[in-house]
Symmetry: D2
């Protein structure tokens, strides 16, 4: 299935819909069933000690899955996050961006469900994983 | 069981440990098994349309449970969030602070588990609920 | 709000809808926002060592929340479990029934969300807690 | 890393540890980071209408992840399930076995975290997915 929005259109959407996130997120890849998003880690994402904060990782997983849904259904309606279950498994590497791979498992009439895996750039062991559910408003 | 830290000591801890959060969080009440924390909603918590963002609610639940654990074990060791499952149930009321009630269900040797309920101030129907798990480092 | 089904009607529904569960579940109380259900612990619920198995506790939480929804909307349509996040916190007491208290937090047009707390009878510290989401089919 | 138990040893463990499950589960494959387990669907797994029940799918995910941990650490200590978050996404196909693929994301000193994907045999769209956390007792 062809995505209904390409990377440029999605990047544009992030800038418009999440203006306070500024240049935090960069879409790196668009696959049939998901996207790869980079969090350009900056001072305001960090906890004392220099690790990326939990809310920043939550935001990354949420944005990544949101974009995977938009790529498939187009910007016609706003999906709403209804559940996120996130496991924090390892301390992110200091000074490294985070890379998030999302994968849609279901895109139904009213619900979308998917997973996000978050890595410190260049590492193979995941930092966090999340499963997310979205409610799709009637069109 | 007497809390090992009082509201002033906890508030102090938030200011020190989460400096970038500034005056976002105010501890309102301390009970034996939990705390009540207010998110003073400001511009940077909002999504377009004026609702509080998901990551801001995640941060509120996380801080609230963290403080409930600290109040019980004291500032001797840093608990680490290992899982958060959050349900977003209703749109927060515009222009209202969020009130988060946390409740510890288990404080074991290595794991702590609890719930957070989040309300728009003055409303009885919850906006979000979360369950959170923390790993307690060996002391 | 008056429940649309009483305890006898709900008990009847369990017998019909979950016939293989036999006399496992007894509805003890019906409140406006939830039900109390007893699992009559029997040999087939146990793991070696004598504790109630995880799937049995999952079934208890699921049945308890399902009944809370039915009590409110009536037996007009079959809600479908879409998510369950369950925390196992303590070993159930040997030889004791399990008591499950469910509470509906949201009963929307398409989704219902609630919590279940599970106790060994006569104990105040919970054995498990779960949050559950159901999809409500269009009527 | 070489598994510490092979398929025969794991299958033996299931028969001993979960005797009431009888021949329900068959281990089909053992990979470095997970196992593939088949649920041989029988009458007692079904809900009225012929679909596999939620508790049966929960048990499948739990057994599959448990075996993935055992294969790695050996039968020296009993891991305990502390959390399971499961999404039910599609109705299982009638008359088909369920195939569960588990993948360990973290095997730490005190916690193990992994995912399970459940499919109806011969279908590519998943029926359910789960993330599970286990506490590893001190050895």
């Amino acid at each position: 299935m062809e995505p209904k929005m390409d990377i440029a259109a999605l990047q544009d959407f992030v800038a418009r819909e999440f203006p306070q996130l500024g240049d935090d997120f960069v879409i790196e890849r668009l696959r049939e069933d998901g996207v790869t998003v980079r969090l350009q880690v900056a001072e305001h994402h960090l906890r004392p000690g220099g690790t990326v904060s939990g809310p920043s990782m939550f935001a990354l997983a949420d944005v990544g899955m949101y974009l995977a849904i938009l790529a498939r259904i187009g910007p016609v309606a706003l999906a709403v996050t209804t559940n996120c279950s996130i496991d924090f498994m390892r301390k992110p590497a200091a000074g490294a961006d985070l890379i998030c791979e999302t994968r849609l498992h279901k895109l139904g009439r009213v619900l979308a469900v998917g997973d996000a895996m978050i890595y410190s750039e260049g590492q193979s062991a995941p930092v966090a994983r999340a499963s997310l559910t979205y409610s799709i408003p009637p069109s």
